[in-house]
């Protein structure tokens, strides 16, 4: 075969070894997406087949040689109604099926494990609740729903894992979420699919799916010492949040213990659930979300906390169930022993001005 061309030969070999029509099915949702895909391919093949059949068939049957004189036909309402309604019905099926799938992919289950992702030109930074940081990579266990809470620091990015059939735009200034449950251990592609500037095609990474025990081992081995919540506590103290949000009866800000997930009555009359996006937004735009009964005196922290710092704060407030420690730091006005060695201004996550 080498006689023909070594290049061509190599090409054939590669074709035969690498040929795939589907990416690996590595999440619970992947088979569902593939089912819809196959259905769509099926109706497309049928549709194109019919059109090809008609065109080729009529071309043979009614070519000028065989049928020199055309028979004029005005049209047929019945026929036209048929080929209006059948596609319509098919498309409606596709619509409903697709919508169901969409809501499944974008509505995370309640028990999902939350991992934060920050996108920036041109890298992905993943932050596990335990404080493990990863650049352009993400380690996850199988058999457990994982929710990603994602935000971009600069432009639009898009977090895409083809093997899981999930993708979500990562937007500046707003949390977006996506979830999946991996089924197959292995290493899969992570792409940024939204064009984000010069090194767009270098904004890629590896999704490493581990068996639960291997995942635990990885978590143990790559801890950075402080969890996100612990770091958040430090930022909380460094920015002086505890001066107002301390749960004292005369405090100027609302108590933050157990605030996550609760419904809040705002001064502008709306009732809102305190979720991640809400917590982040109140730190940056406090006067848009003043809780009923409090004065709009909170300053904005826009430009003072990085996206990572905000994630730490959000994670800290999420896990805050009592005000004891806050009051303790307030009373002693001392840096707690755990934090000795770091001065407030150098807390990671805050931005020096």
């Amino acid at each position: 075969m080498h006689i023909i061309s070594p290049v061509l030969w190599e090409f054939l070999i590669r074709w035969l070894t690498n040929f795939a029509l589907f990416p690996p099915e590595a999440s619970t949702v992947a088979p569902q997406t593939d089912a819809l895909y196959l259905f769509l391919v099926f109706i497309s093949v049928i549709g194109c087949g019919i059109v090809t059949l008609l065109v080729v068939g009529f071309s043979i049957m009614f070519r000028h040689d065989r049928n020199p004189e055309a028979t004029q036909i005005e049209g047929s309402t019945l026929l036209e109604a048929t080929w209006t309604l059948i596609p319509l019905v098919l498309f409606m099926v596709v619509f409903v099926w697709g919508a169901v799938l969409y809501f499944r992919i974008y509505n995370p289950p309640k028990n999902a494990m939350n991992i934060y992702v920050v996108g920036k030109q041109w890298m992905w930074k993943a932050e596990h609740p335990g404080g493990q940081h990863e650049i352009n990579g993400l380690h996850i266990p199988t058999g457990r729903p994982i929710q990603l809470t994602m935000i971009s620091q600069d432009v639009f990015h898009s977090f895409s894992i083809p093997a899981f059939r999930v993708k979500r735009e990562v937007i500046p200034g707003r949390y977006t979420t996506v979830w999946f449950e991996a089924t197959q251990p292995g290493t899969y592609h992570l792409f940024c699919t939204q064009y984000c500037g010069t090194k767009h095609s270098a904004m890629i990474g590896d999704i490493v799916v581990l068996k639960p025990e291997a995942y635990e081992a990885w978590i143990e081995s790559s801890t950075s010492g402080t969890s996100l919540a612990q770091n958040g506590e430090r930022i909380f103290a460094a920015l002086g949040c505890n001066a107002c949000h301390n749960g004292n009866p005369d405090s100027r800000g609302p108590s933050l213990a157990n605030v996550y997930g609760s419904k809040l009555q705002l001064t502008n009359g709306s009732l809102i659930t305190a979720d991640d996006a809400f917590l982040r937004d109140t730190i940056l735009n406090p006067s848009m979300h003043v809780t009923q009964g409090f004065a709009p005196i909170m300053p904005t922290y826009q430009g003072q906390v990085s996206e990572e710092g905000l994630i730490d704060l959000v994670e800290y407030i999420k896990g805050l169930h009592s005000n004891d420690r806050i009051q303790q730091t307030l009373n002693t006005t001392q840096v707690s022993p755990a934090q000795s060695g770091t001065t407030a201004s150098k807390v990671p996550g805050t931005v020096n001005q």
Binding site: Y106, N107, T176, T177, D275
Partner: protein, 88 residues
């Protein structure tokens, strides 16, 4: 003459808008303002711009323009208003 009448009506409309802005009507302040503005615009279109005396085609054209304008506004707002309903 019609033009003078319309001119007067437009001036009255302007005065009304300004006046209404200083009366506290709660949520109805913007509604009133837009309503008056719409009436004024319709008056201008119908009489100053002669649509009232024009053919059906012309009326249809103007209507098509406003229809598309409304499509743009409502379909865009449909996204923004319904963002608060769901998780995102």
């Amino acid at each position: 003459m019609t033009y003078l009448l319309i001119f007067g009506a437009l001036l009255v409309g302007t005065a009304l808008t300004v006046g209404a802005a200083f009366v506290d009507l709660g949520h109805f302040n913007p509604v009133v303002a837009i309503l008056i503005a719409c009436i004024k615009a319709v008056l201008v279109i119908l009489f100053f711009m002669h649509v009232f005396y024009s053919s059906r085609l012309m009326k249809l054209t103007v209507a098509a323009g406003f229809f598309t304008f409304l499509v743009l506004i409502t379909m865009t707002l449909s996204d923004y208003l319904s963002r608060a309903w769901g998780l995102w």
